[in-house]
Symmetry: D2
Subunit: 124 residues, 4 copies
């Protein structure tokens, strides 16, 4: 089996694989947007659990720890799988949605005002 | 500006854009895995809020409602942006991680056992 | 050991027990509000996992299922434990905060307008 | 109106108030455990949003900031309100559940082993 890489894999290819997995198992009946949003949030919670008690910067080490890294990659994969399946079911083009959102973010957080600051745009 | 589409956009292209946005604003200092996992979970929570009180199937209509759809696309975009930035910071190849996770899922949920069932694999 | 009950236990008693547990283990150093908010959200995610693929009404049965009920009670307990410890660390009187929030909610959701409707107050 | 305080308010009193609020608005139809668990997780996400980019210890200051404190108290109140309503609908005695969970935690995290350590019990 060919190994997928971010450099060569489009969003559409991943979405197709995720959808095929669900279709083969007749799981589309369970994949209502409500349920997928819950599953996504639950997986995001599991990803967070790796960092609960760590200092912010120490979390940069945790993701390099081989024993923990494999689990962290799995949780992140679960998050993106559910996000892509949500996009499948809702008919959302993820790349286009991200492009639009980043354009909006660029207006809310202009470089000269936002540089080096973590404040919300309403406080800049 | 060219419109991005899932059909033509690789994961790597999106990751590069997300990282560039953070770098321009000198935000990498804030983008520890711990913080990104929190932001991801918080955005997943916002996505869920659109479906809190709806019946499961009614949520399929909500994502078609033009007034709500724009907001839902934005929340999903936020989720994926933070997931990609997490992958940037942690050095994770998302496509490869998803491929591995789906292979593991295929073993836990063989088609013949899992078809039409939403049970956890430990209950199949 | 006396069994605690909601009828006879004040919030303050529970808060004191939760704080004592942390103090005995010298865990207050880890119990920054940021960390406790993450732990709370992660536990809320675990509670949700029991209901991901169920129809809304079927979830009313799930909580009656003896095998699942014990786990669900544990997840709910975890949520409230972290909420109370957050209140301990932040110096928040939970009962007073709830009273204030419910008064605000009563103004946003007057009985005559909100009866039988799940709309957000901005849509009533 | 008498101001409620943690020192004088039992869990049962708060649960009764929360249930009465829902009953008056005929909202019990929406308060399935599935929906309440989602609302709880979404509110936990909102609480987290106050601390996303802060250093762990800086979050101890954020909860003292008068401008932010009022909002933080509201989010915590929302979390506990939904937890109590979940307990109402599921018929869970919160104090008893917490007592049982803390007894289990005390076995997993004995004082002599857990003191000053944030490791998961499986790593102690």
């Amino acid at each position: 089996m060919k190994t997928l890489t971010d450099a060569e894999t489009t969003l559409a290819e991943l979405k197709t694989r995720v959808l095929a997995f669900a279709k083969e198992r007749d799981w589309e009946q369970f994949h209502a947007p409500k349920n997928l949003s819950m599953a996504l949030a639950a997986e995001a919670g599991e990803l967070m659990e790796h960092f609960l008690w760590a200092e912010t910067n120490a979390s940069r080490e945790i993701v390099r720890d081989p024993a923990k890294r494999a689990k962290i990659e799995e949780e992140l994969a679960d998050v993106v799988i559910y996000a892509l399946e949500f996009a499948n079911i809702a008919g959302i083009d993820v790349a286009a949605a991200i492009q639009r959102k980043m354009a909006a973010n660029a207006e809310k957080y202009p470089v000269e005002k936002a540089r080096g600051r973590s404040d919300k745009y309403t406080d800049l």
